[in-house]
Amino acid sequence: MVSIFPVNFTLSSYEKLLSDSQFWRSFMISVERVVLGLIVNMMLMILAAYPLSKSSKQFRAQKVYMNIVIFAMLFSGGLIPTFMVVKQLHLLDSIWALILPGAVPIANVILLMNAFRAVPKSLEEAATIDGASQWRILSTIYVPVVLPTIATVTLFTIVGHWNDYFSALVYINKTSNYPLQTYIQQLSVDVQNITDPQKLIEYSKISNRTLNAAKIVISTLPLLLIYPFMQKYFVTGIVVGSVKE
């Protein structure tokens, strides 16, 4: 009889998973990618968004750069030209191939730029009068004020890096170097295009649905753990102001 509680409950899949070295290797590669990717992305995004948030009075070429950025957002080189670039920069098969092609996510830059724009001008003026340099204004005033937006963008970046499976499929040539999501994507073998009986027999022997399900559950855990920590920025950020006018 089917009732609320599962029959023959077992954790054997999870036990088996612990001994799967490739799974954990891929897991660590994903972690590495998220950490490195986050550092690179955040740095570049803030450094790009800050000048772009200035009016063209302050930064004369702002419009030109803005147009370049928008253009790059709307039109991409396409899969193969991008692949050629990555290849000719000798990035193939390294973790940088997963990070650098998407080092400046423009949608997030625009998000940050708008957050910077919303910061009252009087804050910057006050700091300038006190003798702060642009670097200092950015690091001690602008960044702390837009922390909620930065939290949002951070989350986007982490989720983006963690969930991306496709770039590794294209840029990584050794399956042992695949990050976690690519490894998981591989589990659903595409038998459609295979007609050789020898191989088909091999595939019909494979059936490890529960094991694959366990892998998917484990792969979502890190993201689930990050959300609660980000939560507080979403809640407080909205109500805390910094200037009364």
């Binding site: 001994s19 799967d20 070295s21 490739q22 799974f23 690179v40 740095m43 570049l44 450094l47 790009a48 800050y50 000048p51 200035k54 302050q58 930064f59 004369r60 070429a61 702002q62 750069y65 193969i80 692949f83 050629m84 290849k87 920069l89 000798h90 990035l91 193939l92 098969d93 390294s94 940088w96 191939a97 650098l100 080092a103 400046v104 642009q134 670097w135 499929l169 040539n173 050794k174 399956t175 591989q186 073998v189 595409d190 038998v191 459609q192 295009n193 295979i194 007609t195 050789d196 009986p197 020898q198 191989k199 088909l200 027999i201 091999e202 019909s204 022997k205 494979i206 059936s207 649905r209």
Partner: protein, 572 residues
């Protein structure tokens, strides 16, 4: 003030660019071709190695390869734990016997992922020394762009006699597809016969209900009806599912799993095949009038519940679970269908599956359409110093290791790999006789009867012999059956015999490639076709909708493509 700000902004953006460039330097390029010792053509040792199949090179020859990934993590906890793509049972064997070592240029899972890597390597302009390309049109492109080496001489000198004999047994159907302007440009894989579609039924259910073996379509329908209505599996009334059917390819792939090819061919229909219409012209099977009665029949079966009512939404895992879990007792597959349901023995020791070449036509025969005789090709990069190395590896793998290796310790390693389902060989093609699966069944049976395995021809057979022997011993002693032993014996002995002794009519489709218009139009047409199949079978549309499908198929580009196919055939 303003100019100072502009300056710092510009610096920031420049820094941004600089960082992205700086990151590029700390990486390595794995696609560099391997460096090889220069072959000295005067040195007799080199000369011999380059002109004979099994002579090792005097110095190690290294080649880069695009290979299909093997599941090495399945070896965890075994003596082979540390094996990887360049150091495993196969690569060590090749190194030892030929002094040839692989170096991975790229690897990916078989199928779409691997094919994508191949296209990437081609557009990137650095193809590895050796790789397998997935279709004829890719091979043709490589040839036209002068990227691959001519292997005619290498094949003549370095392919072993057995390999040549195997290719000859296809009477040029295979090897000639890789010949361009008289030059052999690749080593094609040989697709062994898929055999006819085989109907698999739960024998223990049939016994319980006192049902005789099926022959005709009516027998088959009767058995499935009884399965569904009388619930021999104890699933509860109305819970037993009818025939398990694939949703994406209801039929049309030679040897396809869960496909109803036999029912279509019973009515003379050949879905998804380019067939000769009798006058030498190619026509597309799915739009021929014979399809209509077959679809009408299936719609009727679906209505009666003889086809899984939810087949349109099932995944491949779902289908397997229905069968191994005892919810359904019937599916159509091919001779290795026992592997599909091998797990059901683990779940229910009383489960018994039997295979039938059915439904048969009035004269007791079953018609099958054959598959593409050669679907992938082993190519060597133009400029690679040792094109013959590819042929030597193939000869070693498909001849020497299979037929001549007698060292039990060596064979044991390959047997272990097989039992963990790990491939490992860098070269993912297969060269075997067309009738490989029932070719040696007589010898095997003889050996099993007498217990004398000395007459067995191949290493694979000797491995299989032990597994079957154990299975038969288990039956004799009333022990628990091993599912691998059962599945192997049932497919390679029971079903192979069945197929060998059945009346099979083979029909060869005339075209397997692609034409220029297909790139644009084929996806739409395939989708239309799939929808037509599903709608008519599930009764959403009446079988008469088939006629309007045909006319819109022709209008939407089907006619153009048919013309192109005919042009390609006549131009050959």
């Amino acid at each position: 003030m303003s100019s100072k700000l502009t300056k710092s902004c510009t610096i920031l953006l420049t820094a941004l660019l600089a960082v992205s460039v700086a990151g590029c330097q700390s990486s390595n390029n794995s696609n560099d071709s391997a460096k090889n010792p220069a072959a000295n053509s005067n040195d007799p040792a080199w000369k011999k190695a380059q002109t004979t199949p099994f002579t090792p090179y005097p110095e190690t020859v290294t080649y880069t390869i695009g290979q299909v990934a093997s599941n090495f993590s399945a070896l965890a906890g075994t003596p082979y734990e540390k094996d990887n793509a360049t150091d495993n049972v196969w690569t060590r064997y090749i190194k030892e016997k030929l002094n040839v070592q692989n170096k991975v240029a790229f690897e990916a899972n078989d199928g779409t992922d691997y094919n994508q890597k191949v296209s990437m390597a081609i557009v990137g302009g650095t193809i590895p020394d050796i790789m397998v390309v997935p279709d004829l049109s890719t091979l043709q492109q490589l040839y036209e762009n002068d990227l691959i080496a001519d292997m005619t001489d290498a094949y003549n000198q370095c392919a072993s006699d057995q390999i040549k004999e195997i290719y000859d047994s296809y009477k040029g159907r295979v090897l000639d597809t890789a010949r361009f302007d008289g030059k052999l440009m690749a080593l094609p894989t040989t697709e062994i016969s898929h055999g006819p579609g085989v109907l698999w039924l739960r024998k223990d259910w049939m016994d319980k209900l006192g049902l005789a073996d099926p022959k005709t379509m009516d027998d088959v329908e009767n058995i499935i009806t009884q399965f569904v209505e009388k619930d021999p599996g104890g699933n509860g009334a109305g819970n037993t599912v009818g025939l398990v059917v694939d949703n994406e390819n209801t039929a049309g792939v030679s040897g396809g799993q869960y496909e109803l090819n036999n029912i279509f061919t019973l009515y003379g229909a050949f879905p998804k095949q380019w067939m000769d219409d009798g006058s030498g012209k190619a026509v597309y099977g799915s739009v021929q009038p014979q399809m209509k009665p077959a679809l009408t029949k299936l719609a009727d079966m679906y209505k009666k519940g003889l086809i899984d009512r939810q087949f349109a939404v099932r995944t491949s895992d779902d289908r397997k679970a229905l069968l191994t879990g005892g919810k359904s007792g019937s599916f159509m597959d091919n001779w290795w269908g026992s592997w599909t349901v091998a797990d059901s023995i683990k779940l229910n020791p009383n489960a018994k599956w039997a295979s039938y070449v059915a439904p048969q036509s009035e004269d007791g025969s079953v018609t099958m359409f054959t598959g593409n005789p050669s679907s992938s090709y082993l190519v060597v990069r133009k400029g690679f110093e040792h094109p013959e190395a590819a042929i030597k590896i193939a000869s070693l793998q498909f001849d020497y290791q299979r037929y001549q290796e007698k060292d039990a310790a060596v064979l044991k390693k390959f047997e272990d790999y097989a039992s963990y389902n790990v491939g490992g060989s860098p070269i993912a093609i297969n060269i075997d006789y067309y009738d490989a699966f029932y070719r040696n069944v007589g010898i095997m049976e003889e050996a099993l009867k007498t217990g004398d395995s000395s007459k067995l021809l191949t290493s694979n057979d000797i491995n299989a012999y032990r597994s079957y022997k154990k299975y038969l011993d288990n039956i004799k002693n009333g022990e628990k059956l091993d599912s691998n032993g059962w599945a192997g014996y049932t497919s390679s002995i029971t079903t192979a015999n069945l197929v060998k002794n059945s009346k099979i009519k083979e029909v060869n489709p005339v075209f397997f490639g692609t034409t220029p218009s297909m790139a644009l139009k084929w996806p739409t047409l395939t989708k239309m076709e799939l929808e037509m199949f599903l709608k008519i079978i599930t009764g959403e549309q009446s079988p008469d909708a088939f006629d309007s499908f045909v006319s819109s198929w022709k209008k939407t580009g089907g006619d153009t493509i048919t013309n192109e196919v005919n042009k390609e055939i006549t131009s050959k």
